[in-house]
């Protein structure tokens, strides 16, 4: 969840606790959500400590009253807020006995005001059928924040019973605001697989991709891959995702999914990326640079785009500023991406390759020559690799000579043979002499 959304959810919870309109707390919108959580806990403690004695006496008195009668009193005299406070102190089995006699709308009113931390013993014992009824009611009221607070305290059986009662968009929005997101992986595992595409379509329909991408950061690689593949392999979803990512610059959330996708999913993402309008593709490359995601993007382009796609990337790389190429070069050397980079550079025209080669190789030139030649040998892209070297300014070529001198005789012979075949012997003489 974005920081703003987390803060908004916390303001809503605090407003509920104080029984005020959330707009009255608008001055908190710049606050960090974690500070509002701390404040809400302090307010909760304060409210409970103020009425601790009377609440305890009420809880003791409740033991004397049969469940049906207590339920009637709860509705007619107590009201949902006090019942919510009582839930934290009353004997759990008594609370359940009373809850069985209360209608779902009233229990939902109570749930909105309950502090789940204080009533966790009661919550864990609520029968699944009641949880399902209350879940359905809360879903109809769009009370996702309330349900999000409870998810971590409700038993698995109750969750399973409630899942069919909650809408696809409701499940999604509960996920955004739920507390204890470390359980998210497990919770999603309880959702029948056939519902996952429906939930993704709900995200697309409600323009909730930023929130969904944020949720991905809380789930493990297997689930991330499963859901990511569902999105990547559904044309409608992928179009929606690409549109949202372009409009809201969400590429730093989309690209980290790539390593956990299947081959097909990666190919679909690569195809989508290759078709993006140039300004959006530049946005992608900007996000790659800003978040150091070259080890994701370069293999995606090299291994999963077709020639046309690689040519588009190559043409764009040829136009980006020098600093970006320097960053790219560092990442390529660090992450051993020369082979993949060569596959992209293969699509460059000589006039595009020349300035890029200069920038790619100029820093750390001596170290990069062995890496480049190893990648050339691995890929067989001798023409591209040697053209890169041949297009370097003479000064740089001279600097390469000592590094080239460290090549074994066999290696030098192979390089020279290929240079001769490609008619590049003269251009590389400063290097290989």
């Amino acid at each position: 969840m974005s920081a703003a959304l987390e803060t908004r959810a916390e303001i809503l919870k605090l407003a509920r606790l104080l029984e005020v309109d959330p707009e009255q707390l608008e001055f908190l919108r710049a606050a960090d959500a974690s500070d509002l959580v701390a404040l809400r806990e302090q307010v909760t403690d304060s409210l409970y400590s103020q009425v601790g004695g009377p609440l305890q006496r009420l809880a003791s008195a409740a033991k004397l009253v049969p469940g049906g009668l207590a339920a009637a009193v709860a509705q007619r005299a107590m009201g949902p807020v006090l019942c919510a406070r009582l839930a934290g102190v009353v004997d759990p089995s008594k609370a359940i006995e009373v809850a069985r006699h209360l209608p779902a709308p009233f229990l939902s009113d109570v749930a909105i005001h309950v502090d789940p931390r204080r009533a966790k013993t009661v919550i864990a014992k609520v029968p699944p059928a009641i949880v399902a009824q209350v879940g359905a009611e809360l879903d109809q009221r769009d009370e996702f924040v309330t349900m999000g607070r409870f998810v971590g305290f409700v038993g698995d059986d109750a969750i399973r019973a409630a899942l069919p009662e909650i809408s696809d968009s409701g499940l999604l929005q509960i996920g955004f605001v739920m507390e204890g997101k470390e359980r998210l992986d497990y919770m999603i595992g309880l959702i029948p697989p056939e519902r996952l595409p429906l939930i993704l379509h709900a995200a697309a329909d409600l323009s909730l991709w930023p929130e969904l991408l944020d949720l991905f950061t809380h789930v493990g690689p297997e689930l991330k891959g499963t859901i990511g593949d569902l999105a990547a392999c559904d044309e409608e979803l992928l179009d929606s995702l690409a549109r949202a990512a372009g409009e809201e610059d969400l590429w730093d959330g989309v690209l980290p999914l790539v390593p956990v996708l299947s081959d097909l999913g990666r190919r679909r993402i690569a195809t989508m990326a290759a078709r993006l309008d140039e300004p959006i593709l530049l946005q992608v490359i900007g996000a790659v640079e800003a978040n150091d995601m070259w080890s994701i993007f370069i293999p995606l382009a090299a291994d999963y785009m077709d020639d046309d796609g690689r040519a588009r990337i190559a043409a764009l790389v040829a136009t980006v500023d020098q600093q970006l190429i320097l960053t790219l070069a560092e990442a390529v050397e660090r992450d051993r991406l020369w082979a993949q980079l060569l596959q992209i550079a293969e699509q460059m025209r000589p006039d595009q390759l020349e300035p890029v080669a200069d920038r790619l190789l100029s820093a750390g030139l001596e170290d990069r020559l062995p890496s480049l030649l190893a990648a050339v040998e691995e890929t067989g892209l001798w023409e591209t690799g040697l053209q890169m070297l041949a297009s370097l300014p003479e000064g740089l070529k001279a600097r390469l000579a000592p590094a080239a001198a460290t090549l074994s005789e066999a290696e030098r012979r192979v390089v020279l043979e290929h240079a001769r075949e490609l008619g590049l012997t003269d251009q590389l003489s400063a290097v290989l002499s």
Binding site: E19, F27, S46, Q50, P54, L58, V73
Partner: protein
């Protein structure tokens, strides 16, 4: 007074409010928070008293006597 709001909030919460909020919010805003907490506590207290009184009236006589004894 410049720090009246934070002092009132501290008193209502009976603890030190989150430091980041004290830095972020104006003293007026902290005072507003203090007032809202105070109002919530008063409202809760009144509701509890009212509920205790009303609850008794819904109970059969014999139960009412026992419950009233517990409530004190």
């Amino acid at each position: 007074m410049a720090t009246d709001g934070v002092a009132r909030l501290r008193a209502e919460l009976d603890t030190e409010p989150p430091a980041a909020l004290i830095v972020l919010l104006s003293d007026d805003d902290l005072g507003t928070l203090a007032t809202l907490v105070k109002d919530a506590k008063e409202s809760q207290s009144e509701a509890l008293q009212r509920a205790s009184d009303q609850a008794l009236s819904h109970l059969p006589r014999l139960v009412r006597i026992a419950v009233a004894r517990v409530l004190g």
